[in-house]
Symmetry: C2
Subunit: 210 residues, 2 copies
């Protein structure tokens, strides 16, 4: 995987900044200082300025950032100012939950296809209107529907096989919910979601801060 | 919320280090250098040394860290060297998926109670063996089963109400999967899980690195 010059932590924080800016807009704010944005995101103001500084000059000294403009700028940076088509493999409880999760479409991430290998599931129409397809039709569906992001919600034992199929189908970005490490070619990107990392933060704080 | 002297990002990284150390152990490694650990976690070696340095002296200069010992130390720091009892509210698809997710018990996080407000669900026995309880029994169950962490998987519209109930029941650590901001007293800790932040990282990389 090629690594750019921008730290991954900066990209993650941009995501947080963007979400706080949405909330500020919702609450009627038009401008925000780097101090306030930093406080809301639990980082220091210098960090906010440094992170944004990688991409240009956005704020006005002594005035702060325009809440709506900065959202647009961050959306452009993160490439979420457009729609992305996603395919998901493994339609168990977690897969079904994600397909119904309102946060994805709101942010421009659309599930356009759902796959499974279970004969009892294939052909079933989900409440979203999608029909569960045979995993063997993945490659052809990726082309047909222009799927750019693959989501894996299978049991760990088959996650690697699914990653291989996505990768062969030229889907170069994978979001892996299966609690296992998957290996992909250098041209493919993987992000893992591990629910338990947030629990480690909670237990640390429970022990040390309360 | 009181904030300790240790940055939250350090705690998050300790979680990552720990997971990589597990994999190293699984692969048969007994020692690891800060360089290798840093590379595996996509941070720089100075960061690894700085993060661990907050808590003591763990490595041997020129030799590195003992893979098993460092895991134990990090588990102690994160307070995950013991079992934690969790209660979950909202037994839809996501709630059911989490209850079955093998990663939680493996890491010492046990769901000991599941709650819902839906009359059709209350009393149903889940595949894990837990019976879905009435949300109105939460306070009493928390005491009885010593629940220390609350997990919220309800629709956004009721998440705040559930957080209030947990908080009244003296559950001071909440893991919120509902895509909404919840407000809690200063003595309560909340971690939010937003699946779409990882997607922002993927789309950024797709645009800039491939």
């Amino acid at each position: 995987m090629k690594t750019g010059k921008i730290p991954k932590a900066t990209i993650t924080r941009l995501s947080f900044y963007y979400r706080q800016l949405e909330l500020l807009e919702f609450d009627g704010y038009r401008m925000v200082s780097s101090e306030k944005l930093a406080w809301l995101c639990q980082v220091n103001p210098a960090q906010v300025r440094k992170d944004l500084g990688y991409f240009g000059e956005f704020g006005v000294r002594g005035v702060g950032y325009d809440v709506i403009d900065l959202q647009q700028e961050i959306k452009k940076i993160l490439a979420v100012n457009r729609n992305w088509n996603m395919g998901i493999v493994g339609i168990g409880n977690l897969g079904s939950a994600l397909l119904q999760h309102q946060n994805f479409p709101t942010r421009g991430f659309s599930f356009v296809a759902a796959f499974d290998s279970d004969e009892n599931k294939i052909g079933k129409v989900l409440s979203s209107g999608l029909m569960i397809k045979d995993i063997r039709d993945l490659k052809e569906t990726v082309k047909e529907l222009n799927i750019e992001i693959g989501v894996i919600t299978t049991p760990p034992s088959v996650a690697q096989g699914v990653a291989d199929i996505f990768s062969e189908a030229q889907v170069n970005a994978l979001l892996n919910f299966s609690p296992t490490q998957i290996h992909v070619p250098e041209t493919c990107l993987v992000e893992n979601i591990d629910f338990t990392i947030k629990l480690d933060i909670l237990t640390y704080k429970l022990k040390n801060e309360i």
